[in-house]
Symmetry: C2
Subunit: 438 residues, 2 copies
C-alpha cells in the first residue's frame, strides 16, 4: 500500500530542539523555576487560549495585529501573547481566593505572529515573577525583584551582568517641569538611545516637535554620570519641586539602599536614567538586564512597577512589580554567542546496561533497577545486535558509563563497568560500581 | 476615568487551578517527569501549533472535527490534539540526528474541541513515554513499559492499581480464524465491555452482522478466566494455527515472563483479553491501567505497540511502544473521588520572616537569605501593617513557620521562631532555627 508522504516540517518562527539542546534548555528552565520558588513564589498555570474579549480588553496597538485569533463554533478566542494579561485576568477572577501580597511565578509559552526573522520567535517561553498588592505595595518589593534577577542569573552561571534601574516618576516629573506633553512618545524615543544613538534620538525628538532647548535638557538629564550615589545626588540637586519627581527620587533611593541589604553586589546593578521601557504600562521602578560582554543581545530580563494590574477586569486597585525573561530568544542568542555548554550529552542516562546476549537480560534488568534505586539514571539495551553496536549507542548519546553483563558477571554476581571517556573497564560488585559512577 | 470592565473568565473546558491545587498538580507532574527520566527517557518539546497538512496527514474521523484549526496570513495551522503525531513528525524530520532505539518522554498540553461536559477538558496535559525502533524493536521493551507504568503510579503513592495487558495479534488472529472481516468495528465493541455490559456487546455485534455462533465464540474467548499462566495456557490450547495468533501468544508470553524480572508485583498486572484499545493504531501489546477501588475513573494510563509510527511522513519503518497519562482529567477525577491530599499549603514557602517594623527590615532580609542558602524557601513580609495581619498572611497560606524579628532579636543576633501549627515560639540562633525547621 503506497501512501502520500507529507514532508515533516514545523512552521517558521517556532523553535524546536534536538535532544542535546532540549536537555540544556530544560536545565536553564529548571534553574529559573527553582530560583523563583526559593523566594516563595507560587506556581501558576493558565490556559493558552483565552476569550478574545478578555485578551483584548485593553485593545489597540501592535498586539492586536500579532495575535493568533480564531473562532470555533460561536466562540471568539485567541492565544495569549504574554503572561501578564492572563495574570491580570486570574487575579481579578479569583481575587477573593487569593492572599495578598500575591507572589506568583509563571513559566509558559506565549504567541505573537511577528514578522518572521532570524532570532525572532512566534512561539516562545516567558518566565515571569510578579508580586501583586491589594490597594498598595511597599517599594521594598521593587528592590527584592532586583535580588531575584541577581539570584537567577547568578544561579544560571553568569557573573558579568548588570541590572539597570530607573524610575518612571523621575522621567515623568522631569518632563512635566519641561512642559513636554507627549511623554509616551518621548520615552519611547529615549528608550532607543542604545539602539539608534544620540543623533538618532535628537532627530526623533525634533520630529516629535520638541525645541532644541528642551532636547538639550533631556539629553543632559539622561546622561547624568557617576556612581549610583552621585547620580542620586545629581538628581536631587536638579532642584525640581514637582511631587512626582520627588517621589521618583525617594523610591529610587529606597531601592538602591535596600539592594545592599538584599546582598546584590554593587557591580551587578546601576542607575540608568535612559531606561524607560517602551510600554506605557510601567509607572515607577523599571529594570533592564544586560550581559556586560554581550550588549548586542539586548535586555535579557526586563520589567517594572505598575500602578494597576487588572483595571480592565476589576475596580480593585492592584499595584504590582515584576520581571520577565524571554527564554526562547535568550537561549537562541546564548547559543549563537557560543555561551552554552558544548560538551553536554544527548540523554540524561548515566549508565547503559548491556547484556551480552538474551540470557543475560534478566540479571541486566536487576542491575539497572538497583542503579536506579541509587538515583543513577539507567537503561538496558535489549535489541539483539553485536556488542559493538550496543556500545556505539552509548557513544552516540554520550552516556558516560556502560555496564557489561555476560555469563561470567552473572556467575560472580558482579558487573563490568566501562568508563566510556577513558575506556577503562573493571569488574566490580554492584555497590562498588554505584560508588564509582557517583 | 471610568473604564468598561470586561468580566474576567476562562473558556469552558479549560482547567485553571487555585494555588493549593496548582502546587499539588505540579507535584504530580514532577513525579511523573522524574520517573520517566529515571528510566533514561529524553525530554522533548514541540510547538503547540503545527501545519494543518502535517497534523491532519492521517486525516478523517473525529479528530478533524475536534481540532482547533485556523489561518494567519496564508498559513493553515492547527493546535496539536495529541503528542503522538508531533512525535511522528519529529522523528521523521530529525531522523538522521537521532539515535535508536529513541526513548523520549513528552509532557505538554494538547487541544480537542470536544463537547463540553463535566470532567471533559478541551485543553489537557498528556504525559507520554515512547520507545521507537529503527526497523525493528524488541518485544522486551513492551514489558519495560509496564514496569514504567508501575514505577510511575507507585511513586505517585498508589498501591492498588492494575495494568491490564493484551495483544492485538491474538484478537486479530482469532477473528481471522472465525472469518470476521470488520475487525476494527468488532474490537471497538469489545472495548466497551466494561461500559455497556455483555448484553450491550452482544447487541452491537449482532448489529455489525455477526452470527450468534460467532458471537458465542468471541464471548467465550474474551471471558477466559484464571491466573495469567492459566490464561496463556487456555489460549495455547485453543489450537489456532494462524501465524498472527501464535505470534500474539508468543509476545504476550514474553511480556508476562519479563515482568517478573522487571520487578513488577503480580498484583499490579493481569492479562485481560477484552482490552483492545479503540484505535486501529495499535498492532501488538496493548495496555490499560485501572485504579482497583475506582474502576469508574476508567483507564488512567493507556497505550501499546504500533508497527509504524511515522508512515505519513517517511518511508522509514519505525515501530514503537508507549503509554500516555491524561493528567488533567486524572487530576480532576482524583479530586472528585477525594483521593488528593487535602492538607497541602497554598504556597511553597516554609518560613515567613516578619519584621516588627521597618527598622527590622535589613536584618530580616539577611535572615531570609540565610534560610534560603540552607535550602529553606523563605520570604519577608514588607507591608507596614499590624503584626496580627502579618501572621494572618502566614495562616491563610498555611506557611508552617514564622520568624519574628524585633529590636531584641537584632541586638541578640537571634530569631524568634514560631511554629504556626502548635503556636510554640522560642528565641534561637539562626543555625538552630534552621535545624528546627528542617
Amino acid at each position: 500500500m503506497s501512501k502520500d508522504i507529507v514532508k515533516p516540517s514545523t512552521l517558521p518562527g517556532f523553535m524546536e530542539l534536538l535532544p542535546k539542546d532540549q536537555i540544556l534548555f530544560n536545565k536553564i528552565l529548571d534553574t529559573i523555576r527553582k530560583t523563583y520558588e526559593e523566594f516563595g513564589f507560587i506556581p501558576l498555570d493558565t490556559p493558552l487560549i483565552e476569550k478574545s474579549e478578555v485578551l483584548l480588553a485593553k485593545g489597540g496597538g501592535e498586539t492586536e495585529k500579532q495575535i493568533y485569533r480564531f473562532t470555533k463554533g460561536d466562540t471568539d478566542m485567541a492565544l495569549r501573547f504574554d503572561l501578564t494579561v492572563p495574570l491580570a485576568r486570574y487575579v481579578a477572577q479569583h481575587f477573593s481566593d487569593l492572599t495578598f501580597p500575591f507572589r506568583r511565578y509563571h513559566i509558559g509559552k506565549v504567541y505573537r505572529g511577528e514578522k518572521s526573522q532570524r532570532g525572532r520567535f512566534r512561539e516562545f517561553y516567558q518566565c515571569d515573577v510578579d508580586i501583586i498588592g491589594n490597594g498598595k505595595l511597599s517599594v521594598i518589593y521593587d528592590a527584592e525583584i532586583v535580588s531575584i534577577i541577581y539570584a537567577t542569573f547568578n544561579n544560571l552561571g553568569f557573573k558579568d551582568f548588570t541590572v539597570r534601574i530607573n524610575n518612571r516618576k523621575i522621567l515623568n516629573g522631569f518632563f512635566a517641569s519641561l512642559n513636554v506633553q507627549n511623554t509616551v512618545d518621548v520615552l519611547r524615543t529615549i528608550d532607543k538611545l542604545e539602539k539608534i544613538g544620540e543623533k538618532g534620538v535628537i532627530s526623533e525628538l525634533k520630529g516629535i516637535g520638541l525645541t532644541e532647548n528642551t532636547i538639550d535638557k533631556i539629553l543632559n538629564f539622561i546622561k547624568i554620570q557617576g556612581t549610583n550615589q552621585e547620580k542620586l545626588q545629581a538628581l536631587k540637586s536638579l532642584d525640581m519641586h514637582t511631587e512626582v519627581f520627588q517621589n521618583g527620587i525617594d523610591e529610587l533611593t529606597t531601592v538602591i539602599e535596600y539592594l545592599n541589604s538584599f546582598g546584590v553586589p554593587e557591580k551587578n546593578y546601576m542607575i540608568d536614567l535612559t531606561i524607560a521601557r517602551g510600554l506605557d504600562y510601567y509607572t515607577g521602578t523599571v529594570y533592564e538586564t544586560f550581559l556586560d560582554n554581550y550588549p548586542e543581545i539586548g535586555s535579557v530580563c526586563s520589567g517594572g512597577r505598575y500602578e494597576n494590574l487588572a483595571e480592565y477586569y476589576t475596580t480593585q486597585k492592584l499595584p504590582g512589580v515584576g520581571v520577565s525573561i524571554g527564554l526562547t530568544r535568550l537561549f537562541y542568542q546564548l547559543k549563537e554567542a557560543g555561551l552554552l555548554e558544548s560538551d553536554t550529552p544527548s540523554t540524561l542516562t548515566k549508565v547503559l546496561v548491556v547484556p551480552m546476549d538474551a540470557t543475560c537480560n534478566e540479571y541486566s534488568i536487576k542491575v539497572a533497577n538497583t542503579l536506579r534505586e541509587s538515583g543513577i539514571i539507567s537503561e538496558v539495551y535489549f535489541e539483539e545486535v553485536k556488542v559493538g553496536k550496543k556500545l556505539n549507542y552509548a557513544n552516540k548519546l554520550d552516556i558516560p558509563y556502560v555496564v557489561l553483563i555476560g555469563e561470567d558477571e552473572i556467575q560472580r554476581q558482579m558487573v563490568s563497568l566501562k568508563n566510556m571517556k577513558t575506556g577503562y573497564q573493571e569488574t566490580l560488585a554492584i555497590d562498588e560500581a554505584i560508588k564509582s559512577v557517583k
